[in-house]
Symmetry: D2
Subunit: 110 residues, 4 copies
């Protein structure tokens, strides 16, 4: 990693905390609840693709409504995932950098 930062989620973390605080949602945002919410959103993502062929899945961007819907569902998954990291005390940037190093060792390039 050194000097390069692979991703920066700090402003998003701050925003999510404010958002939850302003709505008194901390009591709902337990780790188990957030994993269930994440599962719900991944389910909605899966529904987008469930009856599509691979070719139709790749061409999804040609349908503006479906493409916008896909972006929303991906965003929903990310938001719950980042919030889960936050309430669990996981440093997401560090965790991702670590995992990429492990993956690079586990799967060396040919």
């Amino acid at each position: 990693m050194a000097s390069e930062k692979l991703l920066d989620v700090d402003p998003l973390l701050e925003r999510l905390q404010q958002f939850a605080d302003a709505r008194d949602w901390q009591r709902f945002h337990t780790p188990k609840n957030l994993v269930l919410a994440l599962t719900g959103e991944v389910g909605e993502l899966a529904e987008i693709f469930q009856w599509k062929t691979d070719a139709e899945a790749v061409a999804l961007h040609q349908n503006p409504a479906e493409f916008e819907h896909l972006g929303e569902e991906i965003a929903d998954v990310l938001l719950y995932l980042v919030r889960l990291a936050q309430v669990s005390g996981i440093d997401l940037e560090h965790a991702v950098a670590d995992k990429l190093l492990k993956n690079a060792k586990k799967y060396p390039a040919a």
Copy 2:
């Protein structure tokens, strides 16, 4: 959103593309396959919490091995999600900012 950027994933996107290219993994990284892989990783995340009480889930950081494992699984979910956005042509930063605006309208603060 204006001048503030809520998250920055550009360096990660570049790294993921290089990683896949160097291993000739593009042919595996179809949208449907990535949703299945994401589902697999969310399953591993769920397994961490499945038999824990809410109190045990909140105290998970007290167990260094479990805490590291949690960080890895959260990272795995994020990596497949970012890669899914990438191969699908979704601008993740934009999608997240959009979704937060929609959420703010849908759930106004008290």
Copy 3:
């Protein structure tokens, strides 16, 4: 297992086959698509419980509308799972009996 049958899904299998045949759905019911559909339904199941406390989850039957919804989502998961077994050639009754034997060995009663 011997003479006892732990579960009987034969009439359901026949019904599912007829249902898919009558709608020309065989081409959609590939193993991968059915796993995605199953993921979608498990997501809907997770959504039912995501913001509930354990006490609220246990008391869900007191709300007739939510209780009916829970039954529907559990049924949806089962229907896609049985269909996945069917198109994959898995003998579900045998697989379940086998797994119970393995579980009994893996987790001996105290």
Copy 4:
């Protein structure tokens, strides 16, 4: 439905109750925990197919080890699903029959 029973899970329900009782597992088998466990098993099912083409997924039965593994994962999903129905008070046979009737109305055969 009338006189026909689409599926029979009564012996399995009895066995699952005995199994949990003998291991004092009732306290772990809350609805939320069982949904998380179900998510974990669906994740393992998804992993089986994640990098396979549709053709490879359909031909999976040609690999005895993978085919056995598929049967185990499908069984695991079914076991947690049936247990979830049990602890939630859902009559699974009735719920499935109901859902099929609804599906038949929603998707009339051509």
